[in-house]
Symmetry: C2
């Protein structure tokens, strides 16, 4: 019942198709990468990560003030990042201080967070 709409299924350039297929990341790797990228592709969370990187440690309300989001949105973002293990929480009295996790990939912080800022500033041509 496959819609006759599609191709024969034979590659037109089998060599290149195989070259790409063989070295593609596994589904698990793909999921992990897209998972991290998804977490970083939300404005609230991205600004939040920047803020924590700059301030080292802040309580929830101050993070909200720093990034200009509501406490609800900030709290939800922190929850997701904490679940993913990218930030950690230190409770002190009524306050909950958050900071980037030790497990936060250092190269990713350096090469992505900062590099991407540089990219967006200098490498665009439109």
């Amino acid at each position: 019942m496959t819609p006759g709409h599609h191709r024969s299924g034979l590659p037109l350039d089998p060599e290149r198709v195989e070259r790409a297929r063989k070295r593609l990341p596994s589904p698990e790797e793909t999921d992990r990468l897209t998972g991290i990228l998804t977490l970083m592709s939300d404005p609230t969370r991205l600004r939040l990560l920047y803020a924590l990187d700059l301030a080292e440690e802040m309580c929830v309300g101050d993070v909200a003030l720093a990034i200009g989001s509501s406490e609800d949105a900030t709290g939800y973002a922190l929850r997701l990042l904490r679940t993913a293990g990218l930030v950690v929480r230190r409770k002190q009295g009524r306050l909950a201080y958050y900071r980037l996790s030790e497990d936060f990939p250092e190269p990713l912080r350096q090469e992505c967070l900062l590099r991407l800022v540089a990219l967006s500033q200098g490498d665009e041509s439109d």
Copy 2:
């Protein structure tokens, strides 16, 4: 009518809040970054970018075969990436060959695509 539910609005650590606020990327920068990250955070598109990086150039149907997605999904993914300027199209007869754009940030390809693979392979500890 702000829900009395929220804080006074006064930062508990004004110095850190200011430190973070001052150096945060602008809304436009944030949008651009999240835009690129969003494009890379989809399994189809991510595998597609890998495949093009490896094969240099492929027609639509071969890309679909390489990444194991339908032609529809692949075509849609290529359209989005082309709209964003991350891939370019070369038409030859009935075929449409795609490749990574010259404008595709080279550091991003090197430092993100490849680096993230390395990260996902070696830097996890769970």
